[in-house]
Amino acid sequence: MIPTNASTPPVVELRNIVKHFHGGVLANDQITIQLQRGEILGLLGENGAGKTTLMNILYGLLQPDAGEIFVRGQRSHFRSTHDAIAHGLGMVHQHFMLVPTFTVAENLVLGQPSPRKPFLENRKTVARRISQLSEQYGLQVDPNAEVWQLSVGQEQRVEILKTLYRGAEILILDEPTAVLTPQEVDELITILRKLAQDGRSLIFISHKLHEVMQICDRVAVLRDGRLVHTTPVQATNPAELSRMMVGRDVVLRVNKGPAKPGAVRLRLQNLQVRDDRQLLALRDVSLAVHAGEIVGIAGVEGNGQRELEEAIVGLRPVEQGQVQLNQQDVTNRPPRVLFNAGLGHVPSDRYKTALLREFSIAENLVLSRIDQPPFTQHGLLNQPAIDQNARTLIQQFDIRAPAIDTAVAKLSGGNAQKVVLARELSHQPQVLLVAQPTRGVDVGAIEYVHQALVRQRDQGMAILLISTELEEILNLSDRIIVLYEGQVMGECLASEADVQTLGLMMAGSKLATIANQQGGATK
């Protein structure tokens, strides 16, 4: 088949792609998308909208049930990624596809034909070619460094280099900004623009509206496996795009009044904690959370957030310093004691720490109080009470589930999170630790979770919010504390925070230093 407009065929055309998964889920329903040479196309949609599935089909990782792929006007059939790479495609995955124990150079030559087969290509030749590419596109990286030693931003550069090294003309980037600091995002945008100017074509997968508006030429919106709309970015705006993503208007800014902080509920004093490799993960961290306020911990993932979370809830030993709940020292006490002292916890990895996947919603909702009346009486479970509790909470928290005995594993991310939230709030803690509350949660549920947290704050709960989503921190918090390599870089009121300063702090500058420099610059 030859495309009808023979003048300049699109670089890639997906025609009527259909993909079913086991259990009858229709992940892609008759999707048709074109990508022109030298353009950046945004692929926008909520989690589960079918973006990643569509791109995995284009990259040969999955086979479509129906539909056709054309590359440069030629009908193509990709049985594996090998075929896709041979057609000039490259993919930068959300979870980096790099071998940590390999050097940058080894990662780049992996899967590449060697001119000296069966031996590996000469290391110096490889290193020279990498340097050339690095300079051309501003992707600085040491070819001989082992990948595990690199920062996340550097790893991503290696991922992009990897596709370029293979001569990719068509790049698919799956949520590339999710793990970057604002400054790194800016650098990435510069790089992507250079690539597009150079005649390469890019597909940018994202669920962040402002980034799509900023980076892309055109945007295609997916919802529930269908293509809703394709439009040049100039012809649209964030509000319209978000409406198309979820099918209704979403309030991205949370409406909240000023905080009325009360007494100190949670205090950390000079906390020092080690990570799993026995390296210092938190150094000298001190902070306080008052009743009736939300304190946000901002920072790029892997800067001590997990250790902070675990140290506070008693899952990780505190080496030095103190954790106080309501003026009471609870350092290194077991989680049960902390729970009874009024601490609630919505953990970052809900399936690992909060939920038993194969257990029912009703059982998960009473997990922390299963040994107490009315759920247990005379050493026996009181099923009617457990069921009643579930029915109440499901209604109160708008948990969408077929039945109260449905296994939690069958719920969507958003509904599973509501189960956790419902349980933790149902025993009315005075302090709530919330980590990554909207990770893997769809937009509609994000709104719900955010509003629930603000409501609790207004009723006097002290909330510590740990999140790597800067937007979430800015929207929800009353005060913001930035964590970098386990240290507090500084603290500011959310109302006075600016993204530039927060970004610098997230990249390792102390607030005091930044203030000095800015002061010096104005003089």
Binding site: M97, V99, P100, L110, G111, P118
Partner: protein, 323 residues
């Protein structure tokens, strides 16, 4: 105590070292193969069974060849036996690959099945073929290396072995070179560390893992054949006596590095050689059962302090599927 003085004579030490090296070879080959397999992310605990199958296959082929061949071709028979051992090992490896890679069964269970199959099949076949006959073949002759073999002490310890022993050192270097300097080796290591990354780089994870298992099993089969064909010239039921298991322990001790595996195998070989010799002295105050335990106990002790999980291939033991 008089007897113990025998232990320290020069002749004793020389013969201890010489036989220690010889005893190390089968176990070393099996461990080397397992390193390649595990580097590819597959845990094959079936070495004991594979070694036994290699040992019997090698023995039977060498035995038949000795009956058939003209005297001028008899030099070839042990080598045919060794080749047969490696090929039989690969046959066992193929079973493992189908179970572990294609069918994605639990690797521990699949590979332990191989041990049971190997033990049962070799016992049955040996009895069926040879009955109560004590069949013997001619093992590989020692080949002293010109000049070097004449060196005092060193010559006897290192340069008066059979060709297979020297060849094992060549295999060590080859395996190292293969893992670190060739495309195939890079692919195997990638598949063992991060199969998804290899897959998205256009590498066929299934094919590479099949390769890693088959190479590893060939080495184990060869190791078994070395025992019967090159060294002992006989086969008996369960002749490997747990060496396949020790080889697996050695891989961990060696932190998945070929060179260290050779060192570990030497240690085990020496302990076994020492055990034989102390036994021969017929000491009253140590029951010989305790001495039999010595090499295994030593392995256990070395393992206790030598293991660090972090150095294992990250995807070891985990089947890979795309979704």
């Amino acid at each position: 105590m008089q007897d113990l003085n025998h232990l320290l004579t020069a002749a004793f030490v020389i013969s201890l070292l010489t036989s220690g090296i010889r005893l190390a070879i089968p176990i070393f080959l099996a461990a080397l193969g397992e390193i390649i397999t595990e580097r590819g992310g597959v845990l094959n605990l079936g070495l004991e069974g594979i070694m036994l199958v290699g040992a019997l296959a090698g023995f039977m082929v060498a035995y038949d060849a000795e009956q058939l061949f003209a005297p001028s071709w008899l030099w070839l028979t042990p080598w045919l036996g060794l080749l047969a051992g490696a090929i039989a090992g690969m046959g066992m490896g193929l079973i493992m690959a189908v179970l572990a890679v294609s069918l994605q069964t639990d690797q521990v269970i699949a590979s332990i099945t191989l041990v049971i199959v190997g033990q049962g099949a070799t016992t049955y076949l040996f009895r069926q073929q040879f009955g109560s006959l004590t069949a013997r073949i001619h093992p590989l002759p020692a080949v002293p290396i010109p000049l070097l073999a004449k060196l005092p002490v060193l010559g006897e310890v290192f340069f008066q072995h059979d060709l297979m022993t020297y060849f094992s050192i060549v295999l060590l270097v080859a395996a190292w070179y293969f893992l670190y300097q060739t495309v195939g080796g890079l692919n195997i290591r990638a598949v063992g560390e991060h199969p998804a990354a290899a897959d998205t780089s256009g590498i066929n994870v299934t094919a590479v893992r099949y390769g890693a298992i088959l190479i590893g099993a060939a080495f184990a089969g060869l190791g078994g054949a070395v025992l019967t064909v090159a060294q002992l010239g006989i086969f008996s039921e369960g002749i490997t006596a747990g060496q396949g298991w020790i080889a697996i322990a050695l891989v961990i001790f060696a932190r998945w590095r070929p060179g260290l595996a050779f060192g570990g195998a030497l240690l085990f070989g020496l302990a076994t050689a020492l055990q034989f010799r102390i036994q021969a002295l017929n000491l009253q105050f140590i029951p010989y059962e305790l001495l039999l335990m010595l090499p295994y106990l030593l392995t256990l002790l070395v393992l206790l302090r030598g293991t660090r999980r972090a150095e294992a291939p990250a995807a070891l033991g985990r089947p890979y599927s795309k979704e």
